[in-house]
Point group: D2
Chain length 342, copies 4
Amino acid sequence: MIKVGVVGYGVIGQRLADGVALQQDMKLVGVADVAPTLAIRALKEKGMPYSLYLGLAENRPQFDALNIPIAGSLEDLVRESDILLDATSAGVGAKNKELYKKYGKKAIFQGGEKNSVADVFFHGYANYENGVGKDFLKLTSCNTTGLIRSVDCLDRAYGVEKVAITIIRRVADPGDYHRGLTNALQIDKAPSHQAEDLMTIMPHINATGILVHTPVTHGHIITVVATTKKKINKQQALDVFGKHPRIRVVKIEDGFQGNASLFRYARDLGNPRGDMYEIGLWDESIVESGNDIMYAINIPQEAVTIPETIDAIRAAMGMQKERLAAVGETNKYLGLGKWLEQ
Amino acid sequence: MIKVGVVGYGVIGQRLADGVALQQDMKLVGVADVAPTLAIRALKEKGMPYSLYLGLAENRPQFDALNIPIAGSLEDLVRESDILLDATSAGVGAKNKELYKKYGKKAIFQGGEKNSVADVFFHGYANYENGVGKDFLKLTSCNTTGLIRSVDCLDRAYGVEKVAITIIRRVADPGDYHRGLTNALQIDKAPSHQAEDLMTIMPHINATGILVHTPVTHGHIITVVATTKKKINKQQALDVFGKHPRIRVVKIEDGFQGNASLFRYARDLGNPRGDMYEIGLWDESIVESGNDIMYAINIPQEAVTIPETIDAIRAAMGMQKERLAAVGETNKYLGLGKWLEQ
Amino acid sequence: MIKVGVVGYGVIGQRLADGVALQQDMKLVGVADVAPTLAIRALKEKGMPYSLYLGLAENRPQFDALNIPIAGSLEDLVRESDILLDATSAGVGAKNKELYKKYGKKAIFQGGEKNSVADVFFHGYANYENGVGKDFLKLTSCNTTGLIRSVDCLDRAYGVEKVAITIIRRVADPGDYHRGLTNALQIDKAPSHQAEDLMTIMPHINATGILVHTPVTHGHIITVVATTKKKINKQQALDVFGKHPRIRVVKIEDGFQGNASLFRYARDLGNPRGDMYEIGLWDESIVESGNDIMYAINIPQEAVTIPETIDAIRAAMGMQKERLAAVGETNKYLGLGKWLEQ
Amino acid sequence: MIKVGVVGYGVIGQRLADGVALQQDMKLVGVADVAPTLAIRALKEKGMPYSLYLGLAENRPQFDALNIPIAGSLEDLVRESDILLDATSAGVGAKNKELYKKYGKKAIFQGGEKNSVADVFFHGYANYENGVGKDFLKLTSCNTTGLIRSVDCLDRAYGVEKVAITIIRRVADPGDYHRGLTNALQIDKAPSHQAEDLMTIMPHINATGILVHTPVTHGHIITVVATTKKKINKQQALDVFGKHPRIRVVKIEDGFQGNASLFRYARDLGNPRGDMYEIGLWDESIVESGNDIMYAINIPQEAVTIPETIDAIRAAMGMQKERLAAVGETNKYLGLGKWLEQ
């Protein structure tokens, strides 16, 4: 059993802990954070299903005052774990890396860290092999992770030469008060980093894109114009998208009218926190543009990187040597693709 | 075991079914709806934890095409139940009532129906006794239900003579596409119906209020200016609010910055769908205004009426004769007030 | 002097009247509407700069009660005008057409009407010649009008073969209460009608696209992936965009961060109603995608079709025979392109 | 002619300059700012109707590069003016005060500065006399300015003892990208500063209140529960509100459905920038609550403080000694109350 520690118990850290806890070949040692945030208070109110390690000793009195039990220090968590999932704020991971190295432990960083923090920039489906046995991996960001799922899926089936993407980005998560946008669309300088990141993971593809921020909190939507080696039609695209365990093909006519429909559906499914690991892909969005194919996907930003992060544990620890074996195990424990069997 | 059927499996119906399923002295017979909505598709994907009855026979082929098993007709559900919780769209409940009467069954209607559909306009804490043994009860709406919890709480402790409320109303639920408002506040003609409804339930109180719609999807916020018989101070208000199992007193300084913080916290608690039954009440909102007391509450509109609806079953079926005994049973099975013991 | 009547004094009608009033070779006879809307009340408060004709005789008492002077009936307006600009709600224009025909008058319809209402589907820059001397013209919609400006501009310089567009659509105008969307993105079935309309106006171009509604009220943003006959670079695109009197090339680094910056800038310019006729095009959005060029534009939906509608008057009435002569007159009187000279 | 300089050419500064330029007994010397913002670029594009003074010499090359003429330094503006309207960012005014003192010039600060910056905290209608002849005045903030208009109006007619307010605050101005909130309501610790500020200006009134931020950009809405010395009814309230030149009584049934209707109406009126100086007060919001009166007002945050700031010039410079004489002059030149005569 691989022992996993989660460092940072925010939006991503909570979900990583939940995802790891579901893997029957991994053991969640615990989670670490520095202050009694709402997420920590919720952990306490739930009865401490996960052990909590403290990253900032001087804050101990705040936890004691709330009767929140502390299992040890961040250093203890590192010592007791085989591998750390670092989900701290951007920049903190690079500092934590020193600690992980001190104890000879591997680590997986999230998309907010600089690429230089890691040996390899990683995506479970697209470049699993590159991560096998490596010490430090960095995941792609939420948009890039979901985008690559769809592009890699097309690429393996038909060959993709070029993509031009438009990212319609949600600007805050539900509950965020430290950022936001009101009645405005905001455009970033192009090309978007997601297009550039895609090229790092899939260097044989030419990618560019424009990103526009929108004042919503549920999933991002990305439109993709993909140039394939040979022209494909909508049905050919559906044939491969429709079998991918991390892509959920949905229809507007069934009621999936947008990102918020998928958020509600995940809540109605009874998923913890109403989360969704899979990207949505709208059947009625797929159109042919000359020799290109165009489609739109939904990126559930809070949870979409969880499966690929767990894939990264499998790669770094050498649990599986092959891509499909690895993602298959992750999918099995997370219940991904079950809807394909119904 | 009281047998309960839920008619209408939308935002409220789903939560009623979940709430009833938790009551150890009730049995959920099943739920009824008329079309394979996203909520029904989610029920199917979850493996049909509840039996589904069909309210519109002509739509049967749509369900068959999706392999959604049908346990019977709406009429079958009515026949097999002791009491029906009607959570259909406004106006439909009045029609369904004929069916309930035909089979001599009791029913509880939600706030959208006209008062005339019921024998009594009901709130579990405020006028439980009025509902005991009655055939048809109508619940107060989400805002009124939450508002009355707080006013009744003050009233029983200190006596309330008058309230003036400002309702800052969320305009759509997460996932709603059939209604919405964009970058606009909308004001309704005063007085708001919630103030008038409060006076129906608590006729000894003078109430008025203004309602303003805001473009958000999480909980409503209501500010209340309450005139008590004798002047009370903030601590006296906190003394009684802080012990109420359906009121959660929260602090801005702990991170509860607004309605969205409460939504996120409920998700992090692992509540199904991220729901919250209790209203939030901000400690730092309580101020004294001359002889009045003023405070602000959060109304989680999707789930707030569930406890009082279950109270209504207890009243109508005569399961408990007394208010506190009844709400106590409901609270116990829903886990309400557990946080008070921590 | 060509005599022009404006039928329908809503968001578009008001702006058409203002635009026509600025043309020194046209005379605005007046405007017609059916009820004392806020726009009409504002006209009254301003002292009736335009004569008002009444489209619904039975509503006369409402106007009299408010002391709003009525210059005549809709029929009078038609009789006194050479050409009518119909800016009524979708579908009403088709009915009004009978009246225009009865008096042998020409008319221009807005994008909401069906194409069949008109002899030609019109865009001032792209197909001016097709409208010359015609009786009934229909303008392209706001998105299509602005989109075509940019595509036509590229096409005349370099040849465009194909475009794939993503429309990030504002869902309501400032002040709209009859429609809206809250915290949700909504996707339409593809291809979007704007892509199809572009192909009607520019049949030599292959176009497709996806439209996503966003909860904002200022300008739409469209990203365009354009395949040119020969590959062009960013500078070549800027060379032609930067000289177009109805395209305003702006920079993020100057402070034009999104659609709302352009709205504010137009207000600060002192434009009536804070309107902007020109589309914005972000310098830093222009990227090369293989042999394609990609860029983003802003569509100020309330006013963008005004110049092309005035071009349509010139075409229908034969005031100018040639495209550049016609749009040049319109631009001169509207002050379009003045910023190019600074 | 009183010579006035405006320091800071942002949202408020632009409007102050426009307002002063309309006063026939004042002369606008010019405006000062430190960087070529969008507002400055718009001033340039309009042909420099106001002289521009530079507050930061080192930025001169940026202005030269854009061919924006500079009339002098900030110090020059101070020297040439009798009084300065300081509309810089919060905190900068206190620093600028040293410069004003150096040259013996008077100044008016906006609500963002600390009270200690000024000799008197000022409101044109409520405490004009306190400002007469003073050197440094500080205006109330936008919400407080509008709120006091209505409370002072009631107070002078009927006597007000106590108010409890709920402020539903817009969170950003149109075009703001540096702040915002997305799908969330945010509550501040009570009592709101606006209630406390009201008590500073009107010390005989007891005031408290709760403020909730909402994700919109147009006017704030405030509900007021006012306790008058003798009970008044709705008509009595309307009698005085309806005659106030800076209060516009509007009706929902006429189409004034919320803050965005008022914003649109001001645009349709042709007001520069679509601004509105007067607060809106909804006729149908006025309700009696026991002996109290309750009502709702709209605060157009961008322009509402302009009239009272101009009143402050009149007070500081001793142009008028009496309240009604002073506000009457301001109103006349700004066109306030003209609608009352129609």
